[in-house]
Structures are given as structure tokens and as C-alpha cells.
């Protein structure tokens, strides 16, 4: 499971099935594809995706932190 898969799985669990389109749009806006997404930009992608998929601002920071921790635990960050 790569970092984008983890992000997608975790964000869908929080924000529902449309979260994966948010991630896709963020990658596109950053100028990358899923296959060639640079690992050093993952943290930024997590922050932007959470910001645009979770509308409760008080939860955004903790959700982004949890997702980054899970990606890191998987050895991808």
C-alpha cells in the first residue's frame, strides 16, 4: 500500500466516498499524477486534501496529523 492509497483510505473513512476526488483534484492542482507523485510533497497533499474534504476546521489538524502518522508508520513519510 503506497502513501496515496493510505491517504485515500483514511480520508474516505472520515469524509466519505467523494474524498478520493478531492485528493485527485489536489494532485492535479499541484501538477502531478498519482503514479509520479513525489514523496516529499505527500505532507502538503495531506494538508490540502484534508482542508478541502473536511469542513469542520476544528477537526482538520488532528485528522491530518493522524493520516501522516499512519503514512509514516507504513514507512512512506
Amino acid at each position: 500500500m503506497n502513501e496515496i492509497d493510505i491517504l485515500e483510505k483514511e480520508l474516505v473513512a472520515v469524509a466519505g466516498p467523494l474524498a478520493k476526488f478531492v485528493i485527485k483534484k489536489q494532485m492535479k492542482d499541484m501538477g502531478f499524477d498519482r503514479d509520479d507523485f513525489p514523496p516529499e510533497k505527500i505532507s502538503e497533499l495531506v494538508d490540502l486534501s484534508v482542508k478541502n474534504a473536511v469542513f469542520d476546521r476544528s477537526k482538520q489538524r488532528s485528522i491530518a496529523r493522524d493520516i501522516k502518522r499512519k503514512i509514516k508508520a507504513n514507512g512512506n513519510l
Binding site: V12, A13, V14, A15, G16, P17, L18, A19, F21, V22, K24, K25, N52, A53, V54, F55, D56
Partner: protein, 245 residues
């Protein structure tokens, strides 16, 4: 509740045996007082199921009206809390659709076409307990009545000890039957709905919510959740179409 249904017959048997109640008035008064206790517990138990469902239904109605700023949060049994989390996820997805597509129209295809009665859910929860108590009272009345009870006492040895055992055993077995009935008729549909809602709020948008029409609030909730799921499905299809262009 099952505990109460075992303890109350024990109490009934002890009281009737201790006072050696041959008087039919006594046989009626004691069960009547205990019936009032049972009613209080039935109301409390019904409330633990129906109130969270009503609250969740009200929040789903708000979402259908386009009010996507509410936070869906209902506490209660595990399945009800899981259902509430799934609805919150579905609402969040609709909010994403609104931000990305400008879509805020959540049609009420099924839920607006079907009139729903709220009475059956209360009825289905309370009826087994009423039947249980009426049958227990009748059994106690027959066993302790001066005419029938005395006839049996003359023919059956150790009747004085068998009589309370019969009442307690009746309470024990009926509590098992009522618990199983409640699980099958109320618990299982809620559990099933929670499972479908969890799938629908994550990835599976093809499974429909199906609930017995006789379940009032639950049935209405399943219709409304199905409409929410279909709104998300339409948004997903729209975005997939945009992606492919």
C-alpha cells in the same frame, strides 16, 4: 430487560408463597404493582431505541433540506452510533459535492412518496412485554387461586415448592423468547441498516437500504438514507464523467 423479566417472577413467586396467598384479590394486586414497575422499564427501554432514531431521522431530514452545516452526532447503542457516524460521512460527501460541483439539491425520491407511520415501532417493542406480563399474571392467578390451586395441591406432591418454581421457570423462558424476538424484529434491522450505511458512506453505493415497512421510524430512515446514498452516487458519476473528459 431480560434480567428484570427473570427477577420480577422470582419476586412474585416469593411474595405469593411467603404470604400464602389464596386470595384472588392479592393475586391481582401484587402483579398489578409489579406491572407498573414493568411499564416504567418498558418506557425507558423504548426510549433508548426510539429517541436516538427520532433524533437521527430529524438530522437526516435537515440534510435533505440542504442544511449541510449540521453535525450529525447521536449517542446510544453501538449500532445507532455507527449509523450516526455513517450519516455524518454521507453528509460530508454531499458537502464535497456542493463545493466541487455546486450541487446542493438532494432529491427525496423515495422518502417523499411513502407515508410512514411511527406507531408500529413503539407497538412492536412494547407488545411482547405486555403479552409476557398478562400471561404471567394469568399463570400466577391460576396457580395460586383457591379453587384450582387447592385441587392441584391435593394431587401433586411438593406443590408448595413446585408452584413458585413454575412461575420463575416461566419468567426465565419467556424472557429468552422475548429477547430473541426483539433482536430479530428490532435489533437485526438496525444492525443491518448500520452495516449498509457504513458501506454506502465509504465505497459501496449499489446496495439499497431495505427495511420492513412495519418498523415506522426505521423504515422512514432507510428510505431517506437511500435517497442520500443515491445523491452521492449521482455526484460520483458526475465527477467520474468529468474526469474522463
Amino acid at each position: 430487560m431480560a434480567f428484570l423479566m427473570v427477577v420480577l417472577p422470582m419476586f412474585l413467586a416469593i411474595v405469593l408463597t411467603y404470604f400464602n396467598a389464596d386470595d384472588s384479590v392479592f393475586v391481582i394486586i401484587v402483579p398489578s404493582i409489579m406491572f407498573l414497575i414493568l411499564i416504567v422499564f418498558i418506557i425507558l427501554m423504548t426510549d433508548t431505541i426510539v429517541s436516538p432514531m427520532k433524533k437521527l431521522l430529524a438530522q437526516v431530514k435537515e440534510i435533505q433540506k440542504g442544511n449541510l452545516d449540521i453535525e450529525v452526532h447521536v449517542t446510544g447503542y453501538h449500532e445507532i452510533e455507527s449509523l450516526s457516524k455513517s450519516v455524518e460521512r454521507m453528509k460530508n460527501s454531499l458537502l464535497i459535492a456542493f463545493h466541487m460541483l455546486g450541487e446542493r439539491d438532494i432529491s427525496k425520491d423515495k422518502s417523499e412518496k411513502n407515508s410512514v407511520s411511527v406507531f408500529p415501532l413503539y407497538f412492536m417493542i412494547t407488545l411482547p412485554f405486555f403479552l409476557y406480563w398478562i400471561s404471567l399474571t394469568l399463570l400466577a392467578g391460576v396457580l395460586y387461586s383457591s379453587s384450582i390451586g387447592a385441587d392441584i395441591e391435593n394431587t401433586v406432591p411438593y406443590w408448595w415448592i413446585l408452584r413458585p418454581i413454575l412461575i420463575v421457570a416461566y419468567g426465565f423462558f419467556t424472557s429468552i423468547i422475548v429477547s430473541k424476538l426483539m433482536t430479530r424484529k428490532i435489533g437485526s434491522p438496525i444492525k443491518e441498516m448500520a452495516v449498509i450505511a457504513e458501506k454506502a458512506s465509504m465505497h459501496d453505493l449499489d446496495t439499497d437500504f431495505t427495511t420492513d415497512k412495519n418498523l415506522g421510524y426505521l423504515y422512514e430512515l432507510s428510505l431517506r438514507l437511500d435517497d442520500l446514498k443515491n445523491a452521492i452516487k449521482r455526484a460520483v458519476e458526475h465527477m467520474e464523467k468529468e474526469d474522463s473528459i
